[in-house]
């Protein structure tokens, strides 16, 4: 495939990035399969394996791939092309949260057709914040419900419109050995599939005359009750800005609904209603159940956006937003481009623009690269 000028330009930019920056590799990277997609082909180059970090960097700075991945699985022979002979040893637990799969973000996409007829959709950039909240809920559930040590969990912005949450595991960890069937049950649990009302409101049989007071969920309770309690704390603090209520709810004290409502009023009901809506954690089932999945390498570049796959501290998830800072080309000079299509007003990394086919624009490098990678503009 003959590369057009725009792709050659992008490859040049990616190469300059990889010449100066290192990707982040887990300690056991030599047991993983690596794969990349070059700029001049639609197929992946798979079954690569590396012994040293320098070998990886050499590939990146010479090929400057459009996409770069490693496997969630660890193998005896990571470079063996026959999947049956690879010698699967175990796989990390991986979760993909994609903003356009979130119920709140349905119908918040703009569909566009690129110059070569490919259909793409741009999502409302606000939706990435919902995805960040989803990742935060997931992080809490992994820690408190599934007992995963905090230091094993890594969260990354995917480079496009969501987050990857990886639980790094030694191959002999019980979670690493979980089969697809078992991983599907983890997903079902996180998604709160088939949740019964009695789980959140346990029925109680007592003789009449006794005074029964129902209690609010606390953060220390098991299963979905505990999750409800923790989400209520998050909402009280971050969405409703009620620090007092958040403090009371996170105290892990058994407290009746009546007491809570007497003290804080209607907000209690609002928060818990919202929390109930947030109980399901929307992860992509297909990704988690696949025990041989390829995932983007942290600090590699996403070929459809030109953004870095960026590790995010769980504490900072709630302030995460799409911005030019996620682009390694932020300090580059403005780039002159020509629009290949007409678009309605769109927001790209916080910049509002409207493209007219055939017209020229001088755009900040992050946005110019983003639009070029998406096939909406060409370099001039």
């Amino acid at each position: 495939m003959e590369l057009d000028k725009t792709r050659r330009f992008l490859r040049h930019l990616f190469r300059s990035y990889y010449l100066e920056n290192r990707v982040l590799l887990p300690k056991d990277f030599h047991m993983r399969e690596f794969a990349y997609q070059p700029w001049d082909s639609d197929t992946y180059k798979r079954h690569l394996s590396f012994k040293t970090v320098n070998e990886v960097q050499r590939l990146l700075s010479t090929v400057a791939p459009r996409h770069f991945y490693y496997s969630s699985a660890k193998y005896e022979y990571p470079d063996e092309p026959d999947m049956d002979k690879k010698g699967w040893l175990g796989a990390d637990l991986i979760f993909d949260i994609d903003a356009d799969h979130l119920p709140v973000c349905q119908n918040k996409t703009i569909e566009l057709t690129t110059s070569n007829g490919e259909k793409i959709d741009l999502i409302d950039e606000e939706c990435v914040r919902y995805a960040a909240f989803e990742a935060l809920k997931l992080y809490d559930a992994l820690v408190y419900e599934l007992g995963i040590p905090k230091h094993n969990i890594k969260i990354e912005f995917s480079g496009n419109r969501g987050f990857h949450v990886t639980v790094y595991l030694d191959v002999d960890d019980v979670w690493a050995k979980a089969s697809s069937v078992e991983r599907r049950e983890i997903v079902n649990y996180l998604k709160a599939v088939d949740l019964l009302d009695e789980t959140l409101n346990p029925p109680i049989n007592v003789k009449r005359k006794k005074r029964v007071m129902h209690i609010a969920p606390t953060i220390a309770m098991g299963g979905l009750r505990g999750r409800l309690g923790r989400i209520a704390v998050l909402l009280a603090e971050k969405k409703y800005g009620n620090k007092d209520l958040a403090r009371v709810l996170s105290r892990n004290e058994i407290i009746s609904w009546n007491q809570l409502k007497n003290r804080f009023g209607d907000i209690v009901e609002n928060i818990f209603n919202d929390a109930k809506e947030e109980l399901a954690i929307h992860v992509d089932e297909q990704v988690t159940v696949d025990i041989k999945r390829l995932i983007r390498v942290p600090y590699s570049l996403h070929g459809k956006t030109g953004l870095r796959v960026e590790p995010v501290d769980p504490q900072k998830l709630d302030s995460f937003q799409l911005s030019p800072e996620l682009s390694p080309f932020q300090r580059y000079d403005k780039i002159a481009v020509v629009a290949l299509v007409d678009t309605p007003p769109i927001s790209i990394l916080g910049l509002r623009i409207k493209l007219r086919k055939g017209e020229s624009y001088r755009l900040p490098a992050p946005q110019a690269v983003y639009l070029m990678a998406r096939g909406l503009v060409a370099v001039k």
Partner: protein, 377 residues
Amino acid sequence: MILLTTTANVIDYYWYPFVVDLETFIRLRYGVENFALLLESRKDILEHAVERIKDALEHGEVRTEPQVVELAVCGYHAARLLIASLGDRWLASRYALAEAERSYKRLQNEEPRTIEALAKILGVNLTYLAEPYREPIAIVNNVVIYRQYEYRIHFLDYVKVAQRLLGDPTWRPTNLPVKQGYIYLTKKQITRILKEAIATHIERSIIGFRIELAALPQTVKEYVETVKGLLSKYRKPKVVKTGGKKYSIKLPEGVVLVEAFPPCMKDIYDALLRGENLSHHQRFAIATFMLNIGATIDQVVDLFRNVPDFNEKITRYQVEHLAGLRGSQKKYLTYGCEKMRTLGLCRGDCGVKNPIVAYYKNASKLIRRSKEKEASS
């Protein structure tokens, strides 16, 4: 009774004969190595084994109560041997469930140490909590009321063992107290889970029982025949329900009646035999259809041999994927009639919603007709 394991004083073999290692038992008890040879001179054991199997077929529960522990243990293992010789998966599974049902009756009244010991043998990693885990439920007369859980099991162990129960929402982890990687359960719940583990354990031990039918003593072979007779008497034919009507037919695995194919599938099938190059949808439709009516992987792969781009390795991989043996481990359903219609693959109105139902409907007609012919001639 001979003590075979350190658990012998904790686990009563009479109720849990599957924990006894057969080879060790007969060597210590009778001084022999070959169980089949022993059975030749012990018709009482074979008779008891048949009783157990008959109970399984008739009641779905082993009810017979032998006089001595020895008979229970040997009878159970003899039943395993007879079923394994027949090689019938359905019977293996039915028997396993019936034995589990019997053990379960006793299990519900066992002490924690017995439950823990049994679980260990079954490979289920659970812990009895001397101090139960408590979940607050409500406040009654100013006192907090708790629900107590005496056992805990790792999340992954739970979903492995409870797999068959998960269709029922009350058994989903979603509705259980999950904390720090463990699921907390009451005694009642844990015994129900162990019943599952027992059934799985027994089923596997039957399937894994390697037997050379030819090498069995004549007496034992006769009992295999007896079990075969019982099986054909009790086994319910496969029933497919559609629109209130029942089409009851019985087809063993690997038997495919091409004459009963609905027109859409017959078309694709013929095209395949002619070696035509088919679309992805056509290939998907016929492969999933065949797999869902009981064709083996080999049969489906063979069918694709004539297509121009045939590659055995790739085809096998893909068929295994569709059969749920690979990848997401989900067995794929075939397209419904509605989807076939939108793909332009439907060839007529069969009055059903799915090609598989049409197949069984046709097949049951075919079988009935051939039976009538048989009767009249």
